[in-house]
């Protein structure tokens, strides 16, 4: 009777696992124009870098920033920063990204009436949600 399986099957199994991984990666990975690598709320931006990232901001500071860093950026595209106070959309900022990598930010001026829980939703051009940042504005 002719033997169907080779004497040492391990290389063959490894080959199939590698093949499976390649296929899986190709199927699940969505074609994205830009990859978000960093998103933080901060008190300021200096030298294209977030200064004092935090989740609590005092309104006495005057403003708060939402910083997002994309690397790589395959082609020129745009993203959205949507600012919500509680669950109410306050404003939307459309930001353009350019290759090869790009950092962008949006900010709001702080007033007494802005105290409370906030969130910023960062979404891609196709409206897919990339990340949600939650923070609070306090005294």
């Amino acid at each position: 009777m002719k033997q169907f399986f080779p004497k040492n099957p391990i290389p063959l199994i490894l080959f199939f696992i590698a093949l499976g991984l390649i296929f899986t990666t190709n199927i699940c990975a969505e074609p994205s124009d830009a990859t978000l690598v960093q998103a933080v709320m901060c008190e300021s931006i200096e030298n294209f870098q977030p200064l004092n990232p935090a989740v609590i901001f005092s309104i006495s500071q005057g403003e708060v920033f939402c910083f997002s860093n994309f690397d790589p950026v395959m082609k020129q595209t745009h993203i959205f920063h949507r600012w919500y106070k509680k669950d109410n959309l306050i404003f939307t900022m459309r930001l353009t990204l350019s290759p090869p990598k790009w950092s962008s930010f949006s900010r709001v001026q702080l007033r007494e009436a802005d105290k409370g829980p906030w969130r910023v939703e960062i979404s891609a051009a196709d409206e897919s949600l990339l990340q949600t940042l939650r923070f609070s504005m306090v005294d």
């Binding site: 004092n52 609590i56 669950d87 829980p117 306090v138 005294d139």
Partner: protein
Amino acid sequence: MEALLYLFSGFRWQDGLDILLNTYILFRLYVLFRGTNVIQALLTICVLWAVSQAAVSLGLIITNWAMQGIITVAALIIIIVFRNEISSVLQTKSLKSFFWGIPRYQFNTPLNIIIESVFELARKKIGALIVLPLKQSLDSVVQGGIPIQSKLSQEMLVSVFWPGSPLHDGAAVIQGKQITRAGVILPLSKSKDLPSFFGTRHRAASGLAELTDALVLVVSEERGEITLFKENQTHTIHNRLALGKLLQADAGDDSTSKGIRRQTIELVAAGVICLVCFTGIWLSFSKGMETLATQEVPVEFINPDQRMEIISSSASRVKLLISGARPLINAIKPEQINIKLNLSQSVVGSNKLTITRENILLPPGIRLKSIEPSELDITLDTLVEKELPVQPQWSGKLPKGLVMTEATASPSTVQITGGGLALRDIATIFTEQISLDTLTESGTIRVALVLTPASLRLKKKDPIQINYLISKRPSLF
């Protein structure tokens, strides 16, 4: 006929029971107190009350005030003056006779024994004073006496008055077939028209006959003469036949059909009068005191779809304008009025429900005039589950020089059950306010969630923990 039907419109079985119960109470009071002056005094008070009511309707303020005062005082006086009659009715009657029995006057009194006894006493010239009470009670008029309650016999009656007997002074009272008391002291007559040969015994007999309807027989000790006193009349008795006739006329055997019929007619008439009185009182309460009232009643929603929930209602309470007799209106308890709205035909979203008379349950005798509001806007929603992120809600101010770099909730999401419409616009569940003022270093804090609207429910009521990282603010230099 129509007027009669209108008068008795809204007549409930409770009203019938009410009237019959009170009629019976009044009838029993009449039966128990008949023959006493209490009834006459009560009738007088009734007349005064009628005058007082007439004065009210005519607007005679002072007359009404005076009548009210007189009635109050008269009621007090009745209790004081007739305390003996009242206590004798309450004490001496058995429970059966109190609630049910009907005492009849001089029932089966053996008159022949009395006649023979009296003539024997007269023949032997033994002084005697015998009282036969009729309708009126003697309790408030006579004094003293020893209760005997012995069976009436010729020998017994003669022995009571036998000279030397402890009870021969005073009168013997005979009721029915019994000598009830002996040695009773009767009030003396103050009349100046009595013959000069009448002694104390005759004056006492006359005194009692003047004050009550009792028959009083006197046997003269000196002359052996028999005298019957009845009201203001005096009859000298010469033979047994004459005495028999006189006694038979008033204290005869009432067990005869004529006597029973007479007493039955009297009791039936009394019963009818009591019934008419209380029917009139009921009519005056139910029709004469018709009043309007407003009741605020909560609305009860029935037969809701189990998958639905009431999100909002334009009103949870409805004002009902009702009318009815004032006592019935005043006696209404909140749980006696119900408004039930059927939600079986309602759909998700806004529903307009009309409140009709069929939705309202009122106590008997109460009529509905108006409903406000007569229409309710109800918003229904289906129950759904939604997983929502938890976000801490900070307040106050961090101490100077500190910065909170991270705050995460554990668990980070919670499962919420609530109306689909209510949950549609909710993307986050917030914690209660967490004060920053006392936080100086990283740590964990346990908090509660704030569910708005209140109809939302947590699927698992596990505690929520907030883990936070606090660091020193980097120096600028």
